[in-house]
Symmetry: C2
Subunit: 342 residues, 2 copies
């Protein structure tokens, strides 16, 4: 159990030292224009002398509002999400808000925990990059009066705001690009399919293959994670197959998987990329370009996703009566590099 600490100076201590009322100290903190300069000085000196830091719990309890936004991301170690968080934070600072981050690590329990923590803290609003379908979470939060925006996943605009990228189009783009190289035997690497993003990317790629005027196939190699390690494992398995069974192109559900595949192929086996197998990832994280084989990728505008989420959330907070929920979808972009060149 935490041991007792000496009590911190309160606004009352400041008032006493400065010889003014509680209300005047509060005015110095919140409405200094209403206070004579001489009084401001006196109070400010008392604050410094005492090392007073106001208690936000008390402020918030009385004032009933917060300039802090909570954000829950799936995996802070994935550059896609850290760039997204950076974008959000810069936009929040512009609007006079601060973002505090929680990391769910793809774990529904942790996500739930952060969502509850932020709700108890009565943050101004919550931005969620959800582990799974967020419909129920969002509906519950909104019913409770909590502002919420979903990012990197679309939900019905009747329920709440969301910002995402058209992953179906992204998957199609990736597959079309591979087909345009003359590749016929495509493999999609990614999972779990509970992740709507993954399912959409696969669906888009599958459609491209189906509508391709020529013969081509696409298989699916499921993974339990979207990590470098998972990619490496898949790469090892593929490399261990007879060459005649290799795919001639791999569409990885994200860049981390693709990087892992590259590692397995280039370091531990004789698979040539793109000679034997072309590889394309998804996200276009900062390190895709500097990969051992510069990685082609489908670019998602991560920073823009983050900043747009903040803009929508702030609008919802500050203009609740006129705010209309929106589902914003950005288009992904093909970025071609060595891993899929001919």
């Amino acid at each position: 159990m935490p041991t007792a600490k000496k009590p911190r100076p309160s606004i009352q201590d400041v008032a006493r030292l400065a010889g003014v009322s509680l209300g005047t100290v509060s005015n110095v903190l919140n409405n200094p224009d209403r206070v004579r300069a001489e009084t401001v000085l006196r109070v400010t000196k008392a604050i410094e002398q005492l090392g007073f830091v106001r208690n936000d719990a008390a402020r918030q309890l009385k004032a009933g509002r917060s300039k802090t936004l909570g954000m829950v991301v799936l995996d802070i170690a994935n550059p896609f999400f850290s760039v997204l968080a950076r974008g959000a934070e810069d936009a929040a600072a512009q609007e006079g808000y601060s973002i505090i981050l929680g990391n769910s690590s793809d774990d529904l329990r942790r996500e739930s925990r952060y969502v509850s923590l932020f709700d108890e803290q009565r943050v101004g609003g919550i931005i969620i990059s959800p582990v799974d379908a967020a419909t129920e979470t969002v509906a519950t939060l909104r019913a409770r009066g909590t502002n919420v925006v979903v990012v990197d996943r679309h939900i019905d605009a009747a329920i709440g705001c969301s910002i995402s990228v058209d992953d179906f189009a992204g998957g199609r783009l990736a597959a079309e690009h591979l087909l345009s190289l003359g590749r016929k035997k495509l493999l999609f690497v990614g999972g779990p399919l509970d992740f709507q993003q993954v399912a959409d990317r696969l669906a888009g790629a599958t459609q491209a293959v189906k509508t391709f005027e020529g013969t081509a196939t696409i298989e699916h190699f499921k993974t339990t994670a979207l990590s470098v390690l998972a990619g490496r494992e898949v790469g090892d398995k593929i490399a261990a197959l007879p060459k005649s069974e290799w795919p001639d192109a791999i569409f990885a559900a994200n860049d981390l998987l693709a990087v892992g595949l590259l590692q397995a192929f280039m370091f531990k086996s004789q698979v040539q990329v793109p000679g034997d197998i072309a590889v394309i990832g998804y996200d276009d994280i900062a390190f895709a370009e500097a990969a051992i084989v510069p990685l082609s990728s489908i670019r998602q505008p991560a920073a823009l996703l983050g900043s747009t989420a903040v803009e929508l959330l702030v609008e919802e907070i500050e203009s609740a009566s006129s705010h209309k929920h929106r589902q914003i979808t950005y288009q992904p972009e093909l970025v071609v590099r060595a891993s899929t060149s001919n």
Copy 2:
């Protein structure tokens, strides 16, 4: 200005609906063993029915403690820090705490802002990966009664706890490795030197060169940031020099710089790595191995830094009277890959 929202149900509403006192609802939330099962059920139903979420500001104001820890990192988009944050978070969860993250983006003002925000929120404690010398910040926080641990930088144990890696040793290791390859014309790329980590890495490398039994030199190319972009810019400048002026080895202050250098050399010029110039980075981020030339690096145990910081902080919080400040320093490790092979 935020518009008024319908008031959220309070503990009083729950009490009224369940036909019990405020104190009983509080007991159901906090000490359910003190309440008859039948009463617990009644109250729990009322809570669900009303969608009650207690107000943490009120709880904290009265109870005076928090199970939340604040953490301020330098750059969430740098995998070193995101792995460090992940390590911290896992350790915190083990101890029954939650970590909320703030990102200073190498900006003193932002750091200060998050520190103040967390202090106002009366978090249990603050972990800081500081922008610059944290001595004053830590002393101020501790004088105010705020628990604090510094990570990735050492401060005097008389002031507070810190966890870091011996960057001087790391710098020496890197330079010794380069010298052992027969490289004679070393270049250190990194800055600003306000960053003690950078200064220590340079100092260690400089010492290795000085004590080398043979002729070798080390120059310093200052950068204003530790980013891929900054590394690219330096790489371009070096590549534009006459070949006779190229260094034969580069020690980059971190892996992001090294990745940028690799990009400039391999994509845009004729510099061969390691043939013309060997390149070693620092941090051993997850992508170092998958870089276009697998990058040698000095490994810092990022996750361990994070988890140790939490352990020290929790100890300081929960055992304040017996807690002794410590300065824990981990030893870095050389990881050799293709970028410095012979």
